[in-house]
């Protein structure tokens, strides 16, 4: 039952991200179209595209972390003996969790209430909506990190992507 719920949530998240990226690409093209064909840029295009990018990326960050695409400098740690490596990995995940915890807590309980009264210049929505991407992403990353911590504790090495993703 719970497993099925998780699968549904996962699917829903996947399609949310896919849709956000698709709409974002569309809106940027619409902006060019509006400027040259309609001769009027409304202003909401840029804002919409920006917020969609922020939201889709912060949501996808958890996926990228899970599939090992968030790379660090592994070549120094690899030089250490196996048991020390394990301790370092556990310490790393724990430290990252503290950082993410601070971001999620401060974001949800301090930043969001502050931003509720702020209104975005052209869409007129509360700035809490775009800002919320950061703490929500941090909470999701916290979940992934706790899984990774568990794996490191059991001594399994996290699966690494074959090639690092980079610009």
């Amino acid at each position: 039952m719970i497993r099925r719920l998780i699968r549904y949530a996962d699917r829903a998240l996947y399609w949310t991200i896919v849709l956000q990226v698709a709409v974002m690409a569309l809106v940027v093209n619409l902006q060019v179209f509006n400027r040259y064909v309609v001769n009027y840029v409304f202003g909401w295009e840029e804002e919409t595209a920006r917020y969609l990018m922020v939201w889709s990326s912060f949501l996808a960050a958890a996926y990228a972390l899970r599939s090992g695409e968030q790379l660090g400098m592994q070549f120094v740690v690899r030089l250490l003996p196996g048991r020390v490596q394990r301790v370092v990995r556990i310490a790393c995940h724990a430290t990252v969790m503290i950082f993410l915890g601070v971001v999620a807590y401060q974001g949800l309980f301090v930043m969001i209430p502050q931003q509720l009264d702020q209104v975005s210049p052209s869409l007129g929505i509360t700035m809490a909506i775009p800002y919320a991407a950061v703490p929500i992403s941090a909470a999701m990353l916290l979940g992934v990190e706790s899984l990774l911590l568990l794996e490191a504790w059991r001594g399994q090495e996290t699966a690494m992507a074959a090639a690092p993703i980079e610009i």
């Binding site: 996947y14 399609w15 991200i17 896919v18 956000q20 990226v21 974002m24 690409a25 940027v28 093209n29 902006q31 060019v32 840029e46 595209a49 920006r50 990018m53 922020v54 889709s56 990326s57 912060f58 949501l59 996808a60 960050a61 996926y63 990228a64 599939s67 695409e69 968030q70 790379l71 660090g72 400098m73 592994q74 070549f75 120094v76 740690v77 370092v88 990995r89 790393c92 430290t95 990252v96 503290i98 950082f99 993410l100 601070v102 971001v103 401060q106 974001g107 301090v110 930043m111 775009p130 800002y131 991407a133 950061v134 703490p135 074959a162 090639a163 690092p164 993703i165 980079e166 610009i167």
Partner: protein, 427 residues
């Protein structure tokens, strides 16, 4: 005290193998705790502000455009066109690889996209034509770094975002260095081909074949014209150009070549979001750290440090090149830009160096870092496409790498190579 904590934490977390964006975030958290009296809420705030910028949309759009062109096999026309132009020179197929990388660099803003789009086809066909696998992979890797040097360029978009330098000016500045790199790589390939007996294309194309190849490649050759021409002509911004590129690739892939399938799209869109998320998370946490670094007057301290060594900008550029080459070996291009440029761009300005010139030096320098172990995306891609080890790939890569470093010093010390075109166009 703040600076010592930040430096210590940074080195420690980076060496521990923590993902770079988290290492920077943890460092920033430590710095803020030591500074005292700063509310922790600035961390999520600065993280959002660092990513909420229109120019950054160029990242997902260029990634998506590159993916669409790769899956839609739009590049195949380009490869045959390159073979038509340079294939008759000795070592022709390798020349064609370099030439295609140069043209494709005018479509994509990323070296990784360049390496995978060209390499996935050219490495196997060079191998079939009698080139050793490691040579084929080395040529592709060395040529792929033109991706972010020839406009459009994501690295330059990042540089402009951090420094406020004009994207158009930077783009123009990259043209001559990019072509110089292509020329030097082709020269080395020619010498190698003579020595190892790599052949040229034997058959001549008839007029009819020539026309067919040109017609088939028009679709892909139009793209750099639209993208680069559109940006320089002031028709659209770099971000919008990337967006128009996506539409173009979609139209060609779905309606003209009919190579794209609707069911491949969701996975490509998801992949785009994932790639973007890596850069955006990095920018988010770096924005917090940069804020601390600026509060602590690090740019001014750095300028004072360098002027004590020498007042000569040439000495400064030599030191900066050495530092960036070293950094490029151990970290990727994007983190290197976000971390170092906010500190060094004001220093370069203090020495009277034009920001466009400085931006091109940094771009070329960090792109060379994509070819050096232990962290070099382009050699990873080359080796995985050719199914050889990094060590095997490095042996034939050295001459190309040395030539590229030589070009780096040429553009550093002979300013017109970079500044002639931007000046001509009034940047």
């Amino acid at each position: 005290m703040v600076l010592q904590t930040v430096t210590g934490l940074f080195v420690l977390t980076m060496l521990s193998g923590m993902p770079i964006s988290f290492a920077i975030g943890v460092t920033a958290l430590g710095g803020i705790l030591v500074m005292q009296g700063i509310p922790l809420v600035v961390i999520p705030q600065k993280m959002f502000i660092g990513t909420d910028a229109f120019p950054l949309l160029a990242i997902p759009l260029f990634v998506l455009g590159g993916d669409l062109m790769l899956k839609g096999e739009i590049t195949s026309g380009l490869l045959r066109f390159a073979d038509l132009v340079v294939g008759r020179i000795r070592g022709g197929l390798a020349h064609a690889t370099i030439f295609s990388c140069m043209i494709f660099a005018g479509i994509t803003g990323s070296a990784v996209a360049d390496a995978s789009a060209i390499g996935s086809v050219m490495i196997p066909s060079m191998h079939r034509a009698g080139y050793p696998k490691n040579y084929a992979a080395a040529v592709t890797a060395a040529a792929s770094i033109m991706g972010p040097i020839i406009p459009p360029s994501l690295v330059m978009v990042f540089f402009s975002l951090v420094t406020g330098a004009s994207v158009g000016g930077l783009f123009m500045g990259g043209v001559v260095p990019g072509v110089l790199i292509a020329g030097s790589l082709m020269t080395i390939n020619y010498v190698n081909s003579r020595r190892h007996g790599y052949q040229r294309r034997e058959n001549r194309y008839s007029w009819r074949e020539t026309i067919t190849i040109c017609r088939d490649s028009v679709l892909v050759l139009l793209m750099p014209l639209i993208i680069v021409g559109g940006i320089l002509g002031g028709i659209f911004t770099a971000t919008e150009a990337a967006g128009v590129g996506v539409t173009y690739a979609l139209l060609v892939g779905f309606f003209i070549l009919r190579t794209l399938k609707l069911r491949d799209l969701p996975e490509m869109l998801m992949n785009t979001a994932k790639v973007t998320s890596v850069v955006l998370l990095l920018l988010a946490t770096t924005n917090v750290l940069s804020w601390i670094v600026t509060m602590e007057n690090v740019p001014q301290l750095t300028l004072a440090f360098f002027t004590r060594i020498s007042k000569d900008p040439r000495v400064f550029l030599l030191l900066v090149n050495a530092l960036f080459l070293f950094t490029g070996c151990i970290i990727d291009t994007a983190p290197a830009i976000f971390l170092l440029v906010p500190i060094f761009a004001p220093v370069a300005k203090g020495y009277g160096i034009d920001l466009i010139h400085f931006g091109i030096i940094v771009t070329v320098n960090l792109c060379i870092g994509l070819l050096t172990p232990p962290v070099g995306s382009c050699i990873f891609i080359g080796s995985s496409l050719a199914k050889i080890s990094i060590e095997e790939l490095l042996r034939p890569l050295w001459p190309f790498l040395i030539a590229e470093v030589a070009i780096l010093f040429l553009i550093t010390y002979y300013t017109p190579t970079v500044m002639f075109l931007p000046r001509l166009l009034g940047y």
